[in-house]
């Protein structure tokens, strides 16, 4: 009781602090210097319509490589932590059967979800979205398949292969930029093309497709690892 009261006071103090901070904030009338640089230079430098994508993939490409590495490490550690448990692998008793609606629905929806994910990361340089968003959509397709059939087993080897090939090619494209263009992960190793066309912005669509596949594979592998512990823990309960 005392703990909850202290928590409430503390939380309200933090909330009050941020409320005062936000209440006195006035929105900007124009972009600040850094943002203005990106808004003005993106089209002529890189040929990408989506400024956010241009910053993520090219201007701050090295950060994105680190970000993908964080996700890769997290997926690996999730697999490692969950593999420590006893792996009986026997199907749990008393499981509620999956409904007809979910089974049939997932059969029709899963391919469409995969297609939407691919669409989102292929058009990452033109529309809102990109590799991370598309990868998350693909992983949500995996989640739907797991919900429809909780005992379904995905090939770990396929997921690992997609993930590592995408990662290696991503780094190789970065190194190509070092040789053929201005620096590591420079997108101008391919022609930048016309602003707004699908095949434009140099290597950005290529890199975002690779990131999309890599993120989709990594998040899927986390979901599969978590789903595979399901059979054992249910049995104990």
């Amino acid at each position: 009781m005392v703990k909850r009261f202290i928590a409430l006071v503390l939380v309200l103090a933090v909330g009050g602090l941020f409320a005062v901070l936000l209440a006195t904030y006035a929105p900007d009338a124009e972009l600040n210097q850094t943002a203005r640089y990106y808004a003005q230079r993106t089209a002529q430098d890189l040929g990408a319509a989506n400024i956010v994508t241009a910053i993520i993939v090219t201007y701050r490409g090295l950060d994105t490589l680190g970000e993908v590495t964080v996700l890769f490490l997290a997926a690996t550690i999730v697999g490692l932590v969950l593999s420590q448990g006893g792996q009986s692998g026997t199907p749990a008793r008393g499981r509620v059967p999956v409904g007809e609606l979910l089974t049939t629905g997932s059969r029709y929806l899963a391919p469409l979800i995969l297609l939407l994910g691919v669409y989102v990361f292929v058009n990452g340089h033109l529309t809102p979205g990109g590799g991370f968003q598309g990868g998350a959509i693909i992983a949500s397709g995996t989640l739907l398949l797991l919900l429809a059939d909780p005992l379904r087993r995905f090939g770990h080897r396929l997921i690992a292969a997609v993930e590592s090939v995408a990662g290696v090619v991503y780094v190789l494209i970065g190194l190509l930029g070092l040789i053929l263009a201005g620096g590591f992960l420079d997108n101008r190793i391919l022609p930048t093309g016309a602003l707004g066309a699908l095949f434009s912005a140099g290597a950005i669509p290529l890199i975002y497709v690779l990131i999309g596949l890599k993120v989709g594979a990594e998040v899927s592998s986390m979901l599969v690892s978590l789903a595979e512990t399901d059979a054992e823990t249910r049995e104990e309960a």
């Binding site: 933090v14 209440a23 972009l31 997290a74 991370f132």
Partner: protein, 127 residues
């Protein structure tokens, strides 16, 4: 009031998330609270990035004023790292459930305490 709507939502989510993290003993509920708190931080960065009359930061001939793209870039990174930490937290919760048989914080602490006492008694008997 209405122009501060997103800020009110931000502060509300921040309070709710932080309170759940501190006050709840269930590890899964703590992780849910952490996610809500993270969401409020995303809003805290994204909402002030909107420029008066600005559109989404995607170049098009019909528009000249764009919102600030930098918060979007930063928060995309934050979301990805948030997903990674959430998955890791859930994996640890699963392992704790396997070993202790519970995910309630006070029960886990009580179990730890009992194990320590048993070990101390064992050492005394040996000595």
């Amino acid at each position: 009031m209405i122009e501060h709507f997103s800020y009110i939502v931000t502060v509300f989510l921040m309070i709710a998330g932080l309170y759940i993290v501190i006050a709840r003993g269930n590890l899964i509920k703590k992780l849910v609270g952490l996610s809500i708190f993270q969401t409020s931080v995303y809003l805290l960065y994204l909402a002030p990035g909107k420029l008066l009359g600005g559109t989404a930061p995607i170049l098009a001939p019909a528009y000249g004023v764009y919102s600030n793209p930098l918060p979007h870039v930063l928060i995309l990174t934050a979301i990805v790292v948030g997903v990674a930490t959430l998955a890791l937290g859930l994996a640890l919760a699963v392992r704790i459930r396997e070993v202790y048989g519970t995910i309630e914080e006070d029960e886990i602490l009580a179990l730890d305490h009992r194990i320590e006492e048993a070990e101390e008694q064992g050492e005394e008997r040996r000595a």
